[in-house]
């Protein structure tokens, strides 16, 4: 018998690669959005720091903007640097 695959529809689920389930700032799940957004996913992305901590982009930006002198990670107090991978 000859069998050939003509077409295939694959279904995949994507998740953020994060070391935690929730954002340390707003305590919302990473799968959901930050409190200011209404749609999760592309509209409310995550960002990673060099210190390995992950936050909603909106949350960490708000935090950094509120800091006058130093830009520290709210979790580990190291200087915050974005990890662009």
């Amino acid at each position: 018998m000859k069998v050939t695959v003509k077409s295939w529809t694959g279904v995949a689920l994507w998740k953020w690669i994060a070391n935690d389930d929730n954002c340390g700032i707003c305590r919302m799940a990473f799968e959901a959005c930050c409190p200011d957004c209404s749609f999760a996913g592309d509209d409310c992305p995550l960002v990673w720091g060099h210190c390995s901590h992950v936050f909603h982009m909106h949350c960490i930006c708000k935090w950094l903007n509120s800091q006058l002198n130093q830009q520290l990670c709210p979790m580990c107090r190291q200087t915050w640097r974005f990890n662009d991978r």
Binding site: V3, V5, K6, W8, A12, L13, I17, A29, G41
Partner: protein, 757 residues
């Protein structure tokens, strides 16, 4: 002439003036010169030297007016004595009075001009200002009447005191007779009408100058008696009608009488009486016989007698609480009819029958309300109440929970899946389903079912039209807010994004001059938005035919997005296989696991079950389920009844099917629908508990301390959009929050909670 104050002889000047006054009052012609000189006379008296004689002029004028009116009254008295017993004279008195009044009031108006100086200079000074009367800190009306009035007002007052006080009762009696005649045989001439109208209004006009209580005479002398007489007339009329009319005829008659009375009121009375007369008529003819009107209510509603109902509405609308009973009857009727229409539904299409039957009932009564009850909000809310109660009622056997939410969701699914109707038709049907949806209390149940069905449609490409999917989501959003459709919307956008992604991926392949061995379409879903149930990680060895394309796609995906991990949901994947057998080749659509199984038989014709399972690394449940469907299709043959590890599978080389293109579906639907429904219900229950707990924490955080009942009320009002929680469930949630130390009972009161920060 000079304007300087002069010494005058009052009697001389008054003697002259008096002649003019008499002429004016009798409406005889007055020469211009006389008028002018009289005008000057008034002035010179008022400014006379050494003492102004205005007061004397005033009292002389008053006396003159009184005598004038008295003489006219005497005339009337004589006339009445003459006419004492004769019938024909009746109306004549009214006519006579009316023409006397017309002349007198006209003459008085002119006279008022003549005395302009006196009015303005002498009398205005004494008058209490308007503001003082309005705000009540001025002198009481009693003292005003003792003061001097403007001549016009004085004349009216004299007319009232002398003429109307004496003649009033007899005038009123005759007016009422006139009106009675108008009611009974409608034979008044236009002159009669003008007279009656004029006489009635003379009662108003003699006090018209007053700022306050200008209708006092009219009301006490005339209106009360008129209403009483009218009331008697209405009562007798009503009882006459009741004796030989049906409800329907009676209503028609009453409406006619009401209209006539309205015309009559405008014809004769002061506007202030129109409402009162209407009220009297309603009281006597409707309120007094309310029960008679209600007696056939039920029948009218059930037999859809629209004309009668319309009349009934018109009549009962102005009566306090008049419509209550009618509304109640209508509500019961809708309830019964609705319940009947969705009772004992059987067969495959319960969901269609349910929605469409219910819509029919709703439509029918909505139509009735628009047409006969003028879209009265009271009736519309009764319709809503009735529909909600029918739709949310538990089915008669008491065990099963209400299935409405599920049925409506299924109805929508059905429309969006495979309807043959045109786009336009589907959209109207969807809109109508929203009408029913709005009545559902358990909207969250609907949401669960709808999102599951939507997920299936989207993943398996079953939607008729993506635009319609969006339209429907927007409709739901309009009805329930964006929170409700958030996930649905995210699912919808995921599919759009995936389509883009596929295009980009294909473009990318072209750019790098690569080609895939299979035709690939990928759907990438975001976790959290899709109702996919718990993610049990099913181990599965992906056949090598897929492995390479998948890896390429993953690589592409990772360059497009960072920080994301893809996991494949093979149980949701499907594809098309071309199977070439000896005689014919077939295009078969099937599930990934089944594809994998068939691919194993490419190079050999028989295999042992255990072998297959180990190669695929599938767990037993999935393996059995999917293999069974291939066996059922007779693509594979098995040598035992049941699938066992040692069973031998062989390829059916003699396989034939009439179609060359078909689909193997069984395995997807293996999960029994009942099981699925139960699962959904338990999920909904879990979600509700979370929702309630969140609501309680929110409320308590805002209020700090709250009584039990107040808290329950708040929760009920907050959750209304989504579902109607049961009190025991709320209590359980409160308990669990106390256990988790979010809130605590306050020390001094047993039914009060406080928020623990």
């Amino acid at each position: 002439m000079s304007l300087r104050p002069q010494r005058i002889v009052f009697d001389d000047v008054w003697g002259c003036l008096r002649q003019t006054v008499e002429k004016v009052l009798k409406l005889n012609s007055v020469r211009r010169d006389d008028w002018n000189s009289s005008f000057t006379d008034v002035y010179s008296i008022c400014v006379a030297f050494p003492d102004p004689l205005a007061d004397r002029l005033y009292s002389e004028t008053k006396l003159f007016l009184e005598n004038h009116v008295k003489s006219q009254l005497d005339e009337f008295n004589c006339y009445m004595n003459d006419m004492n017993d004769s019938e024909s004279g009746e109306n004549q008195l009214l006519h006579k009075y009316y023409s006397a009044w017309k002349n007198y009031s006209q003459g008085l108006e002119y006279l008022n001009y003549l005395y302009l100086y006196l009015n303005q200079q002498h009398i205005k000074k004494q008058k209490v200002s308007e503001a003082e009367i309005l705000y009540g800190n001025g002198t009481t009306p009693l003292t005003i009447s003792q003061e001097q009035m403007e001549i016009g007002e004085l004349g009216l007052d004299i007319w009232r005191l002398l003429m109307i006080q004496n003649l009033g009762d007899i005038l009123v009696k005759q007016i009422l007779q006139g009106i009675e005649r108008d009611r009974v045989d409608n034979c008044l001439t236009s002159k009669d009408i003008a007279t009656i109208h004029g006489v009635i209004h003379s009662f108003v006009m003699v006090q018209d100058y007053k700022k306050k209580g200008n209708l006092q005479l009219y009301e006490s002398l005339f209106e009360g008696k008129m209403l009483e007489a009218s009331g008697n007339y209405f009562t007798s009329q009503a009882s006459k009608l009741l004796q030989n009319c049906s409800v329907s005829q009676y209503m028609q008659e009453v409406i006619r009488i009401l209209e006539e009375e309205n015309v009559r009121a405008h014809k004769f009375f002061h506007i202030s009486s129109i409402q009162k007369l209407k009220k009297e008529c309603e009281d006597r003819m409707i309120t007094d016989h309310k029960n008679f009107l209600y007696s056939e209510c039920k029948e009218m509603v059930s037999n859809d007698k629209r004309d009668d109902l319309r009349n009934l509405y018109v009549l009962l609308k102005p009566i306090v609480d008049g419509l209550k009973e009618l509304i109640q009857i209508l509500l019961e009727q809708i309830k019964n009819e609705g319940a009947e229409s969705i009772m004992n539904l059987k067969g495959e299409n319960i969901h269609i029958q349910f929605v469409e039957n219910m819509l029919q009932v709703h439509q029918k009564y909505e139509n009735l309300i628009v047409e006969t009850f003028k879209n009265d909000p009271l009736f519309l809310s009764a319709l809503d109440k009735a529909c909600a109660s029918v739709i949310n009622s538990k089915l008669s056997d008491g065990k099963t929970t209400c299935r409405s939410a599920e049925l409506v969701a299924k109805y929508c699914d059905n429309l969006l899946k495979k309807s043959k109707s045109t786009e336009c038709e589907i959209e109207t049907k969807l809109s109508k389903s929203i009408t029913i949806f709005k009545y559902i209390e358990d909207k969250d149940v609907y949401q669960k079912f709808y999102s599951r069905m939507l997920a299936k449609r989207l993943i398996h490409d079953q939607s008729v039209n993506m635009e319609l999917e969006e339209v429907m989501i927007n409709k739901l959003k309009q009805a329930c807010g964006y929170e409700f459709t958030n996930k649905l919307h995210r699912m919808y956008t995921d599919i759009g994004i995936s389509m883009d992604l596929n295009n980009k991926f294909n473009q990318h392949l072209k750019n790098v001059n690569d080609e895939l061995s299979i035709n690939l379409a990928i759907k990438v879903l975001q976790a959290g938005a899709w109702p996919l149930g718990p993610q049990t990680n099913i181990t599965f060895a992906v056949p090598q035919e897929f492995e390479q394309p998948i890896r390429k796609f993953e690589a592409f995906y990772n360059t497009s997005f960072s920080g994301r991990k893809l996991s494949w949901l093979h149980h949701l994947c499907a594809g098309e296989l071309k199977v070439s057998l000896a005689k014919k080749s077939y295009l078969i659509t099937m599930q990934t696991y089944q594809m994998a199984m068939l691919l194993l038989f490419e190079n050999c014709d028989t295999m042992i079950c255990k072998e297959v399972r180990e190669v695929l690394q599938l767990n037993n449940d999935n393996f059995q389920k999917h293999l069974q469907s291939l066996v059922d299709q007779k693509l594979l043959l098995i040598d035992t009844e049941k699938i066992e590890d040692s069973s031998v599978l062989s390829l059916n080389l003699e396989f034939t099917n009439k179609r060359t293109k078909f689909k193997i579906t069984a395995s997807m639907q293996k999960e029994s629908p009942q099981q699925e429904i139960e699962q959904t219900i338990t999920q909904v229950d879990e979600d509700r508990k979370l929702y309630l707990q969140a609501a309680i924490v929110r409320i308590m955080k805002a209020r700090k301390v709250l009584k039990h009942n107040a808290l329950i009320q708040e929760i009920l009002s907050q959750s209304k959009v989504c579902f109607a929680p049961s009190i025991p469930m709320i209590k359980k949630c409160i308990e669990s929050l106390i256990d988790k130390q979010y809130i605590e009972r306050t020390a001094n009161s047993s039914d009060e909670y406080s928020y623990v920060a």
